[in-house]
Amino acid sequence: MRAATDSTLIARPAAALPAAAPFHFSWIGLAALLVTLLTLVPLGFILWVTLQTGWQTALSLIFRPRVGELLVNTLLLELLTVPACVVLSVALAWLTERSDLAGARLWAWLCVAPLAVPAFIHSYAWVTIIPGLEGLGAGVLVSVLAYFPFLYLPVSATLRRLDPALEDAAAALGHGPWSVFFRVILPQLRLALCGGALLVGLHLLAEYGLFVFVRFDTFTTAIVDQFQSTFNGPAATMLAGVLVTCCFALLALEMLARGDERYARVGAGAARNPAKAKLDRAALPCQLMLGAVAALSLGVPFYTIARWLWAGGLAVWRMDEIGAAFGHTTVLALGGALLATLAAIPMAWLSVRAPGRLQRMLEGCNYMVGSLPGVVVALALVTLTVRYLLPFYQTLATILVAYVLMFLPRAIISLRAPIAQAPPELEQAAMNLGRRPFNALWSTTVRLSAPGAAAGMALVALGILNELTATQMLAPSGTRTLALGFWAHSGEIDYAAAAPYALIMVAASLPLTWLLYVQSKKMAGQ
């Protein structure tokens, strides 16, 4: 009786809305707000440290030659890697999706598979094969091979569902194949290119292991060095501030480049399937090119791992150590994935069921923080726990919170689509049958979004499996994940002992990468 009175009271002012909306909002909105406040901790921390340090010191720490050097390095890395990834992924996506290339499906999968190899393992493989490899060129080479699938995935998905009627229309208006590609196809790839390029750009800023192997300094490697030598001095925090600024600059750039054009198909009905271009005499060179990409991005890491395993023999399989690492990794990956998904539910629900200004603001915050490098999040949590919550320093709780902060957007995005597909009438029906709002939500929409939640958890787990920096700085002492084990051995130049760890990481990532591939197919309705 009381519950009924309450809900009518609350529902009255907003009679135009469905009766359930305002009542839900109060609880779920609050939860979303709390999660968002938590995600803002790293940013608040940088601002706060800057204020504490004082502007004078802060400015002298920011404007020094070392920062300038790092900035130039970062800029060159981004400017060379991102365009190379764009060109490569567009060419590969066109070949696998829009040409009559033999074995296109296999090639498409091989273009996604490099994601299963963590970036630092790519780099470990290349350094093994070419010992002298270092500097900018090496960084660009390995980054392109490790990260181009981030662009290939959205570009190929978009290419697959482009409406061929537009290309026909352009051809009927007298435009040849090249002109059609540049004036009709490429503009429609813009959103996919922007999104993918942003992802690659952010990974370049956040990556640590890859660049340590090839001895190329970026902000992230410099912050970790600084942290290892002076713990959490203001110098590291100021570097983190510059790094965060770079991240936001990338976000802003992407927003500018994205524009507000509309690309969705105008008009009703379903699009025809696009025709495949005939390659004819170009078929062999195209096959060779795809083969070369696969050899460089997959062959090199697999060959290296196999070679070290062969060289190391049975001695490198120290099962006690590897077993422990496997156990630690599993606990962290599952715990982090579960927590991140739970934290994502309110935000995902809000963005589908009650979109509005508050929701957009909250989502924007989550998105921005999700783009922050792990090293920044870790630095913030280290300082916070050391100064104010010492019992939490280097505990399981802290590292799990760090994972939630870093991987929340992955979980939100995976949850959004299935929630959008679950009809809101079900929630209302459940409430009508006497369930309390949260219970109603749980027993209908949340249950129906289980497949999406599972996919989201898999993606978060994949992220945690390959995470190095934050784990290194935050995990309870004695923790040894697969990534940390790999790192410790390769740091001692014991590449053979590192190989089993690399193999297990890649083997565990492959099914998750397959899931990503299948998801992108589904997105295109296939």
């Binding site: 054009e261 509309r262 105008v266």
Partner: protein
């Protein structure tokens, strides 16, 4: 003199012959409609003419120039052929002005003036030029698509069911506009549609397609009144098809003796009458006696089911349409009269 000439066109998709052995002529400035049920191959035929696909066999000639033939294929972008697709296929990332000027060479003088002229030609004003396709209604999108296709001054215009996405009320008006604009521009036009009414009212020449073949071609009036086969007859409108005995220039059927439109040596045949040829009178007037067994009201007209039983012992059921204002109720006895002549089907 034929302007567009298709001869022996074949196109297979795997084992399925989408277009098999099509011959078609269209004179300069004419409007040809290709009509048929969905899946009959009409869209494939259009794509062959446009040059999106090469034919497996046969030739396409436009104004004496071969566009496709043995060892010869002019790609779509080199053909002087315009296309308006089913839902317009406007480029969603370009403004209306940029859409229309897409086919005009960049360097060309008076580009803006041409665009303004074209947008007025299709009955929109220049305020539309800066809008985006998704801000337009379906009818406006089709007008822009037409302007865009006309910008290149094509010599042949292909319309691929351009009115089917529009509301019924808008369809007739758009059809009139498009026909007027194309007529004024003097462009030979080919319309592909599954809507026989649209084809009958739009075209001066039409071809009925089925299973990749042209069943019959001719003027709309000719096809409607003198279809060769039952399929064509039924596809083009409501048909009353009755068995009859032929003698002395008359067909004898349950509706009595009806003059036939051509001499036939056959003894028996199926005859075609259109419902509008049959008049209904009160029970005591002239004509064949019949009983209304069902009368279904549907607004302006009623669908009547009538039982005919004449003295000769032949009986049958007919379905007729009658204005609802004076439609007889079920159970009423009426008389049926036939005007005009009966057409003999093959």
């Amino acid at each position: 003199m034929s302007f567009l000439q298709l001869s022996g066109l074949h196109r297979n998709y795997g084992p399925v012959a989408a277009v098999s052995g099509i011959d078609l002529l269209a004179t300069a400035g004419s409007r040809t409609a290709i009509v048929g049920p969905s899946g009959c191959g009409k869209t494939t035929l259009l794509r062959l003419i446009a040059g999106f696909e090469p034919p497996d066999a046969g030739t396409i000639e436009l104004d004496g120039e071969t566009l496709a033939g043995p060892d010869m294929f002019v790609p779509a972008y080199r053909r002087p052929i315009g296309l308006v697709a089913q839902d317009g296929a406007l480029f969603p990332h370009l403004s209306v002005a940029a859409n229309i000027s897409f086919g005009i060479a960049r360097g060309e003088r008076d580009r803006d003036m041409r665009v303004a002229e074209l947008v007025r030609l299709v009955g929109l004003d220049e305020g539309f030029l800066q809008r985006r396709p998704h801000q337009l209604s379906g009818g406006q999108q089709q007008r822009v698509a037409l302007a865009r296709a006309l910008a290149r001054k094509p010599r042949l215009m292909l319309l691929d069911e351009p009115f089917s996405a529009l509301d019924t009320s808008l369809r007739a008006a758009m059809r009139k506009t498009v026909a007027g604009v194309l007529e004024a521009a003097g462009v030979t036009t080919i319309l592909v549609t599954h809507d026989q009414e649209e084809a009958l009212s739009f075209a001066d020449h039409m071809a009925v397609m089925r299973a990749g073949k042209i069943m019959q071609a001719g003027s709309p009036r000719d096809l409607y009144q003198r279809p060769r086969t039952r399929m064509v007859a039924e596809f083009l409108g409501e048909a009353i098809i009755l068995p009859a005995r032929i003698a002395d220039g008359h067909a004898r059927c349950i509706l009595g003796a009806i003059p036939i439109d051509r001499d036939q040596r056959r003894q028996t045949a199926e005859i075609l009458l259109r419902p509008e040829q049959i008049g209904i009178g009160p029970g005591e007037s002239d004509g064949v006696s019949a009983l209304v067994t069902d009368s279904e009201f549907s607004g302006p007209s009623c669908t009547l089911v009538v039982q005919v039983a004449n003295g000769a012992g032949a009986a049958g059921t007919l379905v007729l349409r009658h204005p609802s204002a004076d439609a007889p109720q079920a159970g009423t006895r009426i008389r049926l009269t036939v005007s005009g002549s009966a057409h003999l089907l093959e």
